[in-house]
């Protein structure tokens, strides 16, 4: 009888959570998403973390390839010295990598990816157990889309979809254009939505802080997103709702 009670509690708890997630997913997935699952390359030297991130990504309906080092990630992408791509016409929609790894850090991996012509447009997200402002800034300046403080939550992963709405060919062109504008300090592009997206998607309590202060590669896109209507002035001003800007050090 006790076992039944506990079993039911476990099952209901687990299933209820799952149902909620499924409901959320069902609401979010567009026709296009359903047709082609986005492919995420996850890089983490920790066995446990790799398993968890893989699961988080799978639950969020991504296709996942998980590797244990920056070296292997480069091999997979065909960016290593041997230039050996694993799959012809490899499509990677997002790369999520741990920062602290032996050999090559996530930051070094980020740099290599941004230096490559084939993959520089792929959004890269950094994960770290340490919430160090200088580290976050450095990564964002190098072109990372986001910086997630571990432990990674489902809400963090669900947010990744935002960085991938640029699968659309038409948006890709604009993004390249805007990115170049953003890198040039003398011009101010019409919209930088990333700070906006940070302030409106407050599902994760660990959303990166300093995103609003350095925006070298903030992507435009999201023309369909309602958030664009409240796009803040460019440069370094914080987003309207400043809760995401509160330093959490």
């Amino acid at each position: 009888m006790l076992e039944d009670y506990v079993s039911n509690m476990v099952r209901n708890g687990v299933v209820m959570r799952r149902r909620r997630q499924e409901g959320y997913d069902g609401f979010d997935l567009s026709q296009r998403d359903r047709a082609q699952q986005a492919h995420v390359l996850a890089v983490d030297d920790s066995l446990v973390d790799r398993k968890v991130i893989e699961r988080l990504l799978t639950i969020s309906c991504f296709k996942v390839t998980a590797v244990d080092s920056g070296r292997r990630a480069l091999q997979f992408l065909g960016l290593d010295e041997e230039k050996s791509a694993v799959v012809d016409g490899l499509k990677v929609d997002l790369i999520i990598t741990d920062y602290c790894m032996p050999g090559m850090t996530g930051y070094e991996l980020l740099k290599k990816i941004k230096e490559s012509s084939a993959f520089r447009e792929v959004p890269v997200v950094i994960m770290s157990s340490e919430n160090v402002l200088a580290r976050i800034d450095r990564c964002l300046e190098e072109g990372a889309e986001d910086f997630i403080v571990k432990p990674v939550k489902l809400s963090d992963v669900k947010r990744l979809k935002d960085y991938m709405m640029r699968d659309d060919k038409t948006i890709n062109k604009d993004r390249c254009l805007n990115k170049r504008k953003l890198r040039d300090p003398s011009t101010s592009p019409p919209s930088s939505h990333s700070p906006v997206s940070k302030s409106t998607s407050l599902s994760s309590s660990q959303s990166p802080v300093s995103k609003s202060t350095s925006q070298p590669s903030s992507p435009p896109s999201k023309s369909s997103s309602p958030q664009l209507s409240e796009s803040p002035p460019f440069t370094t001003s914080p987003p309207p709702s400043s809760s995401a800007s509160t330093p959490r050090l």
């Binding site: 476990v10 299933v15 699961r55 032996p102 571990k150 432990p151």
Partner: protein
């Protein structure tokens, strides 16, 4: 039924429930399509942690302790405990890292003991969690819950 037994049962149920709360992040990642996730990730955690604890003991036993290496191991352990939801191990690791920074061998040894204790405590809890999880997945079919 006997009142005392009821109380004990309630306490046990509450305790088990608290375990689920503590590790609910990991729990929530399991579902019918991945019924072994909790077992797998917890087993990985056990393997990984015990290997790290052994490495730590070895490293601290050297003539010339390589504090950088020790710190790297503690960092790893801290990371995986955080991912699993083992808060106390994580906290003990944080303290450990301070002593590594200070290159304080005595402090490190004390911390290793602390971390070890916390680890075995959480291991016990996780083992109970695994047992109960296994029982509930084997006794019922998930389809029953959807009816």
């Amino acid at each position: 039924m006997d009142g005392g037994l009821d109380l004990l049962q309630k306490q046990l149920v509450d305790y088990v429930a608290s375990l689920f709360n503590e590790f609910n992040q990991i729990q929530s990642l399991q579902d019918e399509s991945n019924p072994d996730f909790v077992v797998e990730v917890v087993s990985l955690f056990f393997e990984d942690s015990e290997k790290l604890l052994n490495e730590l003991a070895k490293s601290l036993d050297q003539q010339d302790v390589d504090f950088k290496k020790v710190d790297a191991h503690v960092h790893q352990l801290k990371g995986s405990s955080s991912s699993i939801g083992a808060q106390r191990v994580q906290n003990a690791c944080a303290t450990f890292r301070h002593y590594c920074d200070e290159k304080n061998i005595e402090g490190c040894l004390t911390c290793l003991q602390q971390v070890r204790n916390e680890y075995f405590l959480v291991k016990g809890k996780l083992e109970i969690l695994l047992k109960v999880t296994k029982q509930s997945t084997s006794r019922h079919s998930y389809s029953q819950l959807h009816s």
